[in-house]
Symmetry: C2
Subunit: 224 residues, 2 copies
């Protein structure tokens, strides 16, 4: 919070009291960057091309983001913030509730091709330990699996899930299914029904680890 004051927190707000021009510009740059990282990945994306999409020059862009890497970091911070606000506001009371929420997340992602494709590309690229997003994605999966397995463990304790359920394994598996389905969906967004596939997975999974029924709504009723 103290050493970064580029764009979002710094400068013009103090003197003028108006965010309109600068902050809207900043958001438009972030949106354009998502599309470019999705299509080109990080390394092959170009600040000049991103800037052109926004209607400014590369020099102008670098007034808002001090470097290409800074732009990437802020893109990831923003999308993560959107995710958390929407889907991880609090812990889930039951495993079923957790999966209903993940299904909603899948539907949300299925409505944003560029954003989802960007995550596919960056998560894969970040497998290189030298990639600027490597620490981010390592932490992201650690947290995701941790939050989910905690949720599942509470469901085991409450009797919703069978004793002896491998909660960490199921959490990692669920994250894997979501990512893998996204990969297939991005390759064929029209033909591949990602939310329905995830619903089928969740139902089969819950049927095999719950003590009673799945409690999952029918798929047509769950759709948006």
């Amino acid at each position: 919070m103290e050493q970064k004051e580029n764009g979002r927190t710094g400068g013009k707000a103090a003197g003028r009291g108006t965010y309109s021009v600068g902050d809207e510009r900043r958001l438009r740059i972030l949106d354009a960057a998502v599309e470019h990282f999705a299509q080109w990945g990080f390394h092959a994306s170009s600040l000049a091309r991103i800037a052109k999409d926004v209607g400014i020059t590369q020099g102008g862009l670098l007034h808002h983001f001090r470097s290409k890497e800074d732009l990437l970091v802020q893109v990831l911070e923003r999308t993560e913030q959107q995710d958390s606000e929407r889907f991880f506001r609090e812990d889930f009371a039951t495993a079923t509730e957790c999966y209903v929420n993940l299904l909603r997340l899948t539907e949300y992602n299925a409505a944003r091709l560029g954003r989802t494709r960007m995550f596919n590309v960056l998560a894969a690229e970040a497998g290189d330990p030298g990639h600027p997003a490597h620490p981010y994605f390592v932490r992201r999966y650690t947290e995701l699996v941790s939050v989910m397995s905690d949720s599942l463990q509470r469901a085991v304790d409450s009797g919703e899930l069978r004793q002896g359920t491998d909660v960490v394994g199921v959490a990692a598996e669920t994250a894997a299914v979501m990512d893998g389905l996204q990969l297939q969906w991005v390759l064929d967004p029209k033909g591949f029904d990602m939310p329905t596939r995830f619903h089928a997975y969740a139902e089969r999974l819950l049927r095999s680890i719950t003590t009673a029924g799945t409690g999952l709504p029918e798929r047509p009723a769950a759709g948006g």
Copy 2:
């Protein structure tokens, strides 16, 4: 088969009858390219850097592959050929046999970090319809799901799997799990035990769709 005669089929073999120098060089280039596509993706990889790894110049490399795109295509063709020879030689008699085979494939992949990371990156990048590998990956998933769901359907017919099993859904889900686990494994190859995770998934899945037991070997016995 008729208009491409670069490197693999063309030229020197006809006149000389010796493959040793040229073909070994070609294979070393392909191996180096795998590592570079893994680290940089397609667009940001550089022919000059790849050539340097092999000990030749960019001009020398382009003697073996007429373009960067040609290099990518031949890399994909080679790895796919290796895959098929190893794991899809014939159709599987039972669903269990199919999953035993996929577990072997997972173990195989877990021994090749660069190759696996390359597939993660290229599969994600190829979500862009303009990416040179887009048609390849679209076809790849179509075939994969087709082969697997055929196998599963035979298992339903034989009574191994429950009637009414959504074989296409299970096939897509299985492909998704493999890809998603690979993504997590590449981010943390030491800490994440991909084959064990896949084994746990296969066991849970088979337990929920087979009529009898899973028939899957215990994990330590299955390991290589």
